[in-house]
């Protein structure tokens, strides 16, 4: 399995704070790689650094063999990286349709792709001409993910998609992400919900204090309760 995304020795400073302290990670093509860790471990900073929203102070980031650490965010997006931020960041003043029209950078909306998206996000079809600001939290998350997959992307960076959502919505969202995974998407997924991580992840990276402290198979971590407690301060059983 080739690695689509590789980070080697990446450091990121935000102001005087040294957040990422030498990150080494690889995201294999066609897999879902979970990025777990406690609050403040540096997970969101990692995604934002890959996306170019915060500049890496040192280190290398390569996408399909191409160095991207010094590229601007729009250039990284144009290389085929879709980003779903923690805040969802839908354009609330724009309609659902307008949000997706903007996300479809390369031309008009593709009907087949839209039908595929509507298949698991039916709310988006129904509220097509409604302002995104009037959607519920779960529907906004759907829109945010739909925006990232409205055109084929090499890599999806998704930051805590289940955060703040009701359990029933989380289950539906997991099914959606599984469907996206079945299409062969490569995803780097930050998640605090260990149940969702276990359902979706092929491999797992655990962060602490700006470094990767564990890497391995998601199934192995899910089966090892003491390791979960040591790395994350919780066990899957306790989380459920």
């Amino acid at each position: 399995m080739t690695d689509l995304l590789k980070l080697s020795g990446v450091h990121t400073h935000i102001g005087r704070y040294h957040i990422l302290q030498g990150i080494d990670l690889a995201v294999p093509q066609g897999q879902v790689t979970m990025l777990l860790g406690r609050n403040g471990a540096g997970k969101t900073t990692t995604l934002r650094t890959i996306m170019g929203l915060w500049q890496a102070s040192s280190g290398e980031i390569s996408l399909a063999g191409m160095r991207i650490e010094s590229r601007a965010t729009p250039d990284i997006a144009r290389l085929g990286v879709g980003y779903v931020p923690e805040s969802m960041a839908v354009f609330s003043d724009l309609t659902v349709k307008e949000n997706l029209v903007l996300a479809a950078r390369d031309g008009p909306l593709d009907d087949a792709q839209l039908d595929w998206i509507f298949g698991f996000f039916p709310a988006l079809r129904r509220f097509w001409l409604s302002r995104a600001g009037s959607l519920s939290g779960g529907q906004k998350q759907m829109l945010s993910i739909a925006r990232a997959i409205i055109e084929p992307r090499k890599l999806l960076l998704i930051d805590e998609p289940t955060k703040g959502l009701a359990p029933a919505i989380v289950m539906a969202l997991i099914e959606c992400l599984k469907e996206i995974k079945r299409k062969g998407a490569t995803i780097l997924l930050v998640e605090q919900n260990f149940f969702a991580a276990r359902e979706l992840g092929d491999s797992v990276l655990v962060m602490d204090n700006g470094t990767i402290v564990h890497r391995g198979e998601m199934a192995a971590l899910a089966a090892d309760v003491p390791l979960q407690e040591r790395l994350l301060g919780l066990s899957l059983e306790a989380h459920q």
């Binding site: 996306m51 929203l53 601007a72 965010t73 729009p74 997006a77 144009r78 980003y83 931020p85 960041a89 354009f91 609330s92 003043d93 724009l94 307008e98 029209v101 903007l102 996300a103 950078r105 996000f121 039916p122 709310a123 079809r125 129904r126 509220f127 409604s130 302002r131 600001g133 009037s134 959607l135 519920s136 779960g138 529907q139 759907m142 925006r147 009701a166 029933a168 919505i169 289950m171 539906a172 969202l173 959606c176």
Partner: protein, 336 residues
């Protein structure tokens, strides 16, 4: 079933009409206070004309504020430059301007306005590249740089045209008034209203019917996410900045014709009004800017008629009142 399946109807978005009703309510409230219907109509027409001119000058600034969080205290330079450039066309064709033919007047006025817009827009390009690009994200430096730019621009105009006030008479066909019963409405004010309305409609069409407009609206709300979708927002901002500068130039020509004179510091008082309009309208909101401009003009005109001593502070009081009601302006677009 979850809300992902959309079983429940989505609440209809509320149309926020309160700000739209505000100038209407204010105008109606003034009828008994002013007493004379003809005076009220004259003042209302003057307010709408003045409001449209202020809107034209402020519309670019509100998008610049909202889109890139740039405090451009030098916006007034584009107004003055626009007015001076118009004199370059109007002076040699003074005979055509004073001819009693609307078409001859417009044949000179239109190129003068277009040239003013082109020069102001080009100046906007230079200002953005030279003064603003190095200080993105640094508000204090933006204020210093753009205020310095305004001073340089004013002094350059003095050096090129001299310190004297340059007359800019209205074209012959735009002098006088339309008489409706015992009400007289100046022809030029009607033209100013029509141009302002046309600019407002054009901006609304671009913002709501084109992908470029979608990008601008999205960028005002969350420029980082627009970049994460693959759009180079700096280029977009440059385009908006140049357009805003060009509109300020157009506003400068219209204001100079309204006052029938041009001088280098003509924008000093206007800049205060423009900033008040941008703030009370809500940063980045064209609709708010439009209503705010009308409100500011109404308060200036009605206030000047009823309580002349309050004229100097009336717009500050208006701003305080609006911000107490809606702290982020009439229509909050950005979270700033």
């Amino acid at each position: 079933m979850t809300d992902l399946a959309a079983t429940d109807p989505l609440p209809k978005p509320k149309r926020d009409l309160a700000p739209v009703l505000l100038p209407i309510a204010l105008a109606l409230l003034m009828i008994p206070l002013i007493g004379s219907t003809s005076s009220w109509l004259t003042l209302t027409a003057a307010s709408l004309a003045m409001g449209m001119m202020i809107f034209i000058m402020a519309s670019g600034l509100t998008l610049v504020f909202g889109l890139m969080d740039v405090l451009n205290f030098g916006h007034g330079a584009f107004i003055a430059v626009g007015a001076y450039v118009a004199t370059l066309v109007l002076a040699p064709f003074a005979a055509s301007i004073q001819a009693d033919s609307l078409w001859m007047n417009l044949a000179v006025l239109a190129p003068a306005a277009l040239l003013s817009m082109a020069v102001s827009g080009a100046l906007g390009l230079v200002v953005e590249r030279v003064l603003i690009l190095p200080v993105y994200g640094q508000h204090l430096k933006q204020i210093l740089m753009t205020t310095g730019g305004l001073i340089v621009a004013e002094q350059t105009l003095y050096a090129l045209w001299g310190p004297q006030i340059i007359p800019m008479p209205l074209p012959a066909s735009l002098r006088g008034s339309f008489i409706l019963g015992d009400v007289a409405i100046a022809k030029y004010r009607v033209l100013a209203m029509l141009i302002g309305l046309a600019v407002f409609i054009a901006i609304q069409l671009v913002l709501n019917r084109t992908k470029l407009g979608l990008l601008i609206r999205a960028g005002v709300e969350n420029r980082e996410m627009v970049e994460a979708l693959g759009y180079r927002i700096r280029r977009l901002f440059l385009g908006v900045f140049m357009t805003g500068s060009a509109l300020a130039g157009l506003g400068g020509v219209m204001w100079a014709l309204y006052r029938e004179q041009v001088h280098a510091s003509m924008s000093d008082d206007l800049t205060v009004l423009i900033f008040i309009v941008v703030i009370i309208g809500g940063l980045g909101s064209i609709g708010g800017c439009f209503i705010g401009a009308i409100l500011v003009a109404m308060v200036a005109n009605y206030g000047g008629f009823l309580v002349p001593k309050l004229a100097l502070v009336s717009n500050i009081l208006l701003m305080v009142a609006i911000l107490m009601w809606r702290p982020r302006g009439l229509y909050a677009v950005t979270s700033r």
